[in-house]
Symmetry: C2
Subunit: 350 residues, 2 copies
């Protein structure tokens, strides 16, 4: 068979603020090609990409590579990479057979690609009752993030109160639901009235509010104090949470979306951190998910958490885009707060 | 017997900055009296105070009582209170006999006093090889503070590096020595060249420096990175430690001496707390000692830690003052960095 064009999204330049479609992220339909039947596999597998996962942390990978950060920098001039869910077309690895679905943790944003186990390729089983694309969301890294961090740092007790920011986000909404299932009172903030509605009506949060129209401090004063603050935003919200947290409170630092996409880092400082943390005997844990994953945690995820999703006890939303060419715009939309739940792009048929 | 004068230190007024002897803390030799033989004991014991413990946190108890803090406010017009080590003179409680030594966790700064078990009175056994006054220091609350916090939050591993500020203080010096005994490289800061000498020569710290003449950042750049930062000062030093800590680092927040004795709270803010804690998967724990004490911890303290002190493996310094009238000046001297190790006042013979 002759080579066919291989659609790709190329990372062309380091953005200062939001990446501009066509400038920093560029769709190229035929600048590369691949020979499906004859491409060398190096002991691995040739796959067709089915879903591409878009996540806020990817903005941080679009940086000067000399700057160290927790996620490796993407390389200018190369296809962008993120988690992709793929179908095996051809394989030299006995663990992967044609027709299998696999997860590529750092997969190219290209329609076809060759991966080996060294790339972290893992086989996926089709989940019951929910879409395969949930491996990018509620059953994927965001699910693992929410579940393992609450397990490691939350020490949740029925009757306590948890506050989660970005509560309608993938991680936030899972955190909120796991806390509800554990018998906690849950307060969630989001930046969109539609999302407030979803949090109240579908997820049954005790309190949900739009932080753009209601002050966090007012809500926590009325509905707090809180025992756990699950932080997805950093900055001032974190400082407010410090004021309204109980003794022996736990603060879980998962993200810092307020610090993305600014010319400079946020200049907001948490004042008197020591006296706040000391006087209330607070435990504050930041984490990057792959630093806290272990065998025991993964087993618990499969045994305790996965059934909750498959049985519909953990609800989720997905914003799904179709086709390669829309990826740069879809990436941008994610930061505008337009998307509901997990953002994925379906680039070929399952 | 007729009543005899009962020397006391009265807390007269809330200080703005440092308490001024004779104004905020006043020695009164005969404004009260006590009848040793006939005073009513209410089922408790009449004691003679032997040692009074002076601690930096007491400054925080001299505040407007409407301000909440982790240690109860002292009452204007009453004797100051702190930990005192006393000898039982007369008792109605079968657990305390004349001649016994007892600890009063919130004992009056008076020569004689009546306490019951409701006051938290506990019996003390004379320790082997070390002074009874160590119950105010290395065998008392500071020892418990250092031992239990490292046990709860330190996760010390041989070969790691620990940095402790106020390393020549009672808690700091115990932390440093426990870390050395556990096989860690230890870096300690202090504000006095004599103390630097003691840390190097006696405690065998790997690195000790005077933060007034050497920048913390320079030392950590040369001798770091660190795995554990044991914080006794807060403020900018804490922020510097964040920059030089390894992945999976632990920050233990024990005190915030830089925030004492200022007209206002320190305005120093830790910027980008979230991104620092997240990207390095840091664990940050603040604590007040009585919030983390439990039976298991107390048993470990007696079984594992106490022998280290009695066998001389944990060294300590004590600055001892004699007599009641000097207490206000002794209290002030503690904040001027003049005292070596634990500050106690011997107010009567053992």
């Amino acid at each position: 068979m002759t080579p066919i064009p291989n659609s790709r999204i190329i990372y062309k330049a380091v953005p200062k603020g939001f990446p501009v479609p066509g400038e920093h992220l560029v769709y190229e339909s035929n600048s590369a090609s691949i020979d499906i039947d004859n491409a060398r596999l190096h002991g691995g597998a040739l796959v067709r990409t089915v879903y591409i996962s878009l996540d806020p942390y990817l903005r941080g990978t679009m940086r000067d590579p000399s700057i160290q950060s927790y996620a490796a920098a993407n390389q200018v001039g190369e296809p962008m990479k993120s988690r992709t869910i793929c179908k095996v077309i051809r394989s030299e690895d006995p663990d992967f057979n044609p027709g299998d679905y696999v997860l590529a943790p750092n997969g190219d944003w290209s329609l076809h690609a060759v991966f080996t186990k060294a790339d972290g390729l893992t086989k996926l089983q089709k989940p019951a009752n929910v879409s395969l694309s949930t491996y990018a969301g509620v059953l994927g890294m965001p699910g693992l993030t929410a579940f393992l961090s609450l397990r490691a740092f939350g020490r949740m007790k029925a009757g306590e109160t948890l506050f989660v920011s970005t509560a309608a986000g993938v991680v936030g909404s899972i955190v909120a639901q796991l806390a509800k299932l554990a018998g906690l009172k849950v307060i969630g903030s989001t930046g969109d009235d539609r999302k407030v509605e979803w949090l109240k009506e579908e997820l049954k949060l005790d309190v949900a509010f739009n932080y753009k129209t209601t002050k966090v401090a007012d809500v926590l004063k009325e509905h707090g104090p809180i025992d756990i603050y699950y932080d997805n935003v950093g900055g001032e919200t974190l400082d407010v949470a410090f004021e309204h947290i109980n003794k022996h409170g736990r603060i879980i630092l998962c993200g810092f979306v307020t610090e993305y996409n600014k010319g400079e880092r946020s200049s907001y400082g948490v004042k008197n951190l020591s006296s706040k943390a000391v006087s209330k005997t607070l435990s504050i844990n930041g984490f990057v998910i792959w630093d806290i994953v272990d065998k025991e945690g993964l087993d618990a995820f499969q045994e305790e958490y996965r059934p909750l999703v498959e049985q519909g006890q953990i609800k989720y939303q997905e914003t799904r885009y179709q086709g390669f060419e829309i990826i740069p715009e879809a990436f941008l939309a994610m930061f505008n707060g337009e998307n509901l739940g997990k953002t994925v792009v379906a680039v070929s048929e399952e």
